[in-house]
Subunit: 681 residues, 2 copies
Amino acid sequence: MWWVWPALALVISAAAFFVAGRFYVYVRNIPLEAESLPHWGDLVRHGAFAFLKTEYRVLTRFAAAVMVLLFLFFPPIWQSPSLLTNLFMALAYAAGAGLSGLAGIFGMNVATIANVKAASAAKRGISGAYMAGFRGGATMGLAIVATGLSGAAVLYLLAPDNPTLVLAFSFGASTVALFAKAGGGIFTKTADIAADLTGKVELGIPEDDPRNPAVIADNVGDNVGDVAGMGADLFDSNVASLAAALILGVALGQAEFVFCLGALGLAASIIGVLTSGVKEGQHPGQALNNGTYLTTLLFFVLTLAVTLIFGFQLRLWIASAIGLAAGVIIGVTSERFTSPEGRVVRRVAKASKSGPAFTILSGFSYGLLSTFPALIGIGGAALAAYLVTAPLGPGYALFGISLSAVGMLSVVAMITSNDAYGPIVDNARGLAEMGKMGDDVIAVTDELDAAGNTAKAITKGFSIGAAGLTVIALLAAYQEILQQVGKTADFQLLNPLVFFGLLIGAALPAVFSAMLMLGVNRNAARMVKEIHRQFNDIIGLKDGVEGVSPDYDRCIEIATIGALKELLPAGIVAIAVTLAVGFIGGVQAIGGFLAGNILSGLLLALLMSNAGGMWDNAKKYIEGGAHGGKGSSAHKASVIGDTVGDPFKDTAGPSLNTQITVVSLVSSLCATLFASFSLLG
Amino acid sequence: MWWVWPALALVISAAAFFVAGRFYVYVRNIPLEAESLPHWGDLVRHGAFAFLKTEYRVLTRFAAAVMVLLFLFFPPIWQSPSLLTNLFMALAYAAGAGLSGLAGIFGMNVATIANVKAASAAKRGISGAYMAGFRGGATMGLAIVATGLSGAAVLYLLAPDNPTLVLAFSFGASTVALFAKAGGGIFTKTADIAADLTGKVELGIPEDDPRNPAVIADNVGDNVGDVAGMGADLFDSNVASLAAALILGVALGQAEFVFCLGALGLAASIIGVLTSGVKEGQHPGQALNNGTYLTTLLFFVLTLAVTLIFGFQLRLWIASAIGLAAGVIIGVTSERFTSPEGRVVRRVAKASKSGPAFTILSGFSYGLLSTFPALIGIGGAALAAYLVTAPLGPGYALFGISLSAVGMLSVVAMITSNDAYGPIVDNARGLAEMGKMGDDVIAVTDELDAAGNTAKAITKGFSIGAAGLTVIALLAAYQEILQQVGKTADFQLLNPLVFFGLLIGAALPAVFSAMLMLGVNRNAARMVKEIHRQFNDIIGLKDGVEGVSPDYDRCIEIATIGALKELLPAGIVAIAVTLAVGFIGGVQAIGGFLAGNILSGLLLALLMSNAGGMWDNAKKYIEGGAHGGKGSSAHKASVIGDTVGDPFKDTAGPSLNTQITVVSLVSSLCATLFASFSLLG
């Protein structure tokens, strides 16, 4: 009965959709509290959908081109036994892209309602506002995981012997993630930096002042970068981990266990989100973390019970548990580095007293240090999972690593809920300010926002850890695919093709992140120019004359077009370099390339995310009154640190997850092509 | 006649010593031109030797401890066939450390005379001043290479079958390099930052104003960091490349060719430095580069002729030529990124108009981009050398890679001369200012200094490239040693021990460089405190009352003690992590560890060196009048960039070369220990 567990995955996915639907209705039914809120909320909402519309137009063309390539070359059409094989590959890809895109629309839809509702509910206290933010996030979290899991389950049920279809499905999701994460990341930081430079720095007006033409774009950015982008990223990691595990699992006849983990992880998450809540006077940050811990515990108990009852291998269960435990540990250690109450952030704040150069130097140095525990965690988890599962027989050890990735991502619905909560309440804060809802409401939203930032530190570490284990599993899947077509998949470090691949692979994340950051700089410069133009041309705008409002749409348009313009070359470079290495150096060069890409991608992602987080929180710590508080020289230095950190932590750092996944999937898909056609391989 | 080529290496080394001696006499005989110069020159000289004395005291203890360990464990004394083997290992190590230390004293001695003489000669024009600076640098360049080459030759002549002795010799040199480069790097930036913060920023006095208590320490720093440190670093890389090539070459019966390359490279460098000179009105930067090109060309011609005449394998020659060509290419590309006239530096300067955050972001982004061509160059050279030599038979391909490293380092005497020229003329400029020699003299020294900066960009790229190829060769040597003791040396990427090693290895350079940079911050804070104390306590100092002078020695002492205090933990962490990975994960984990260490070490070293160079030159470009020139907001932003870049390019970046070499040598030396005693291996 090989179909039982994938079928159960479908059932639990249906349950998740049901709960997500209920949450959606819950959020929509929260009464509005301020007359002007819908006005501002609608502006943000329309801006967000304007971005999505343009993005999806470009994305559709890009995906269509990839579909044609998949149809023509997977397998090469002149060697293909049946054109249906090629067609299914192309369709699986389209399904992955389409479903991820739909999940993005759905999530954005909820998020842009929930922000208004959270601001409204904040008038009645913290409890309802928390629920609006959290259930808004959970709607997306559940929907995303259920979509990914059920997509994989359907493909597996249709073609249980051909897990490559899941790989194509995953690549579809990855394409969307590349656009959503990197494009959204450029959008959000473009708007943020331009709004700050012109508003806070030049005119000295507050952050969310409606006179600033970039203010709506800034709030839109939170949604397109942090909600839709992050959602697409976790969708991508989740599906990729399933794909890798299925490729290795099908070869061993153990695919059922993969669906068992996915289904029970989603079930645990459903219970976790349903029970989450906060009473008046309670700390919302604790509630978010408790939800994660409860879900993790439930997952351990449920999967252990099922393993024992249904006679799965206990060692496989241990591998998955190792992954999840490592995820929690990595999350908690990155939180220690970036927590606003932590020693490291205080030191960065203290260094700011000597000037901005020292803010940068100390944040950068601690960012470098922060990579160590996380890399040990990822490497240790992979090693432990391998050692535990190796006694089961050949092939099991690598399958064990892939299960640790699946295990780490099993609670991803809960993680996504926590993560999406952050930008929703952040937006609620902005809307409360624009809607002039009063200091009490802003204080409530501030507290919710602070909790979001803490939770974000944990989930960010978690998602980098998960991406790390997933791409290690994808490297193993790549090797498995090569073995299945009868190619030696021997990645000796000292094979110079492998070593050459390692070096190029290590350079790619550096190039990719540099292109994105330079893109933000260029795009912000364009927007600053437009803002200056509006302040000059629109009479009365600077002075806040009643009835005079800026042309918000123009700023959103600039951010959108610029983001796509800057993202495309970076994405194309990543894919083109992969193809060049493969067609020149062959399968062994690609083996090294993937490993080098993973190493330097993880290193840079951890460095940038954590350094950015430290700078952000050091600024907040000083704004809380330390070292002279707002306006002091330490504060000015910390603002510079924060500006450097913005594209680090919100554009380049998190996009690297997607870059390494995209490259890994392209390599796995092209494995047989590289094996047949290469210059040196 | 296996001894002919090593014997020739000794003869040519003797010739190099002779020329170095002549240059020393030449420099010493330049007449002094300003009465006060010897006063300032002596202060710098005494400071530099005070640092060396303290450093060597700590170093001696450290090296003595290592000697005891080598004696006890190489091979483990209870398994050793003869205690003489153990004794020779310890002595070879001592010889490497001692000779590198002596070369450092000699180089520092010449440099601290040449700076005064260059300032003097500048009064009579550019030609003589150039010669003083260049021949001062060349004295050290020739002495260093001759010492290293003859040391390796003597050890080989004594024990032609045991190239491990050269490895121990090389490790001795590496120990000195670790202290000289990282310790000197912390010293120099401590003094530089503290002098700038208190002098330029707080009091608004010029860079080399004698009232500043840190001004002598700052000039001492140029000598201990850039002269002695860099010399020890290149000594280290050169000897390490010889050691790796000898280990692989002895196994193939091809060791002679290694000495042939070393000897002819030194011969070419002797001719190169003898013919270097600049006429009045000529551009000194061009003269420096012409010397490099001439030496390179000579090396190609000489070695090709010898290869053809004496019947060496042409393919081996090609491998060495590939390395040298790659070195030149990497040097030239890094120069394009950091050249003050280049497009990249101009863009960084332009970004500074928007504020310091944009200086940092654009410099960092271009720094990331700059890693790509260099890593392709290193990987491409290794790959090409492998492909060319593989047809010669098993084992030859890796030997080919090691020869490309030897080839790249063959002209190292010329490179070191160019590199040491920089700080000598930089010092000459400082002395000219302190000695009040007038604007004409300062203009001459400024021109010499600018040429030094351009040459430095090339030589820096060169030395990172050389370190890269050398450590790849050391990885191959490590494998060879394992094979010789009958252990399988199979570094499969997907072996989780290897992958675990990769991740830890990738994290180490991040941790090492973070520790050094945080060390600079802490140490600079101590010195700033001392400077404030002096300005408060020494009456008349601030106002420059005649006869009142600060306590320069106290600042030098603080920089010295602090540098050693901050360096030791970083060095110990690097070695301890290596031993931990080896004794836990065994030889395969170490294989991955070395590869990961190389990848991330090269990536971070290139990033930091190049970004630092860009910021430095962007500042200079603005000071030249662009974007409002000195005092403009762009200038202030660029000064912040430069301060961040200082420890990047002069402390952390270049020390990473040494870190990866030290770790590689420790691994090779401990290979058999790890093979016998490890937890998981």
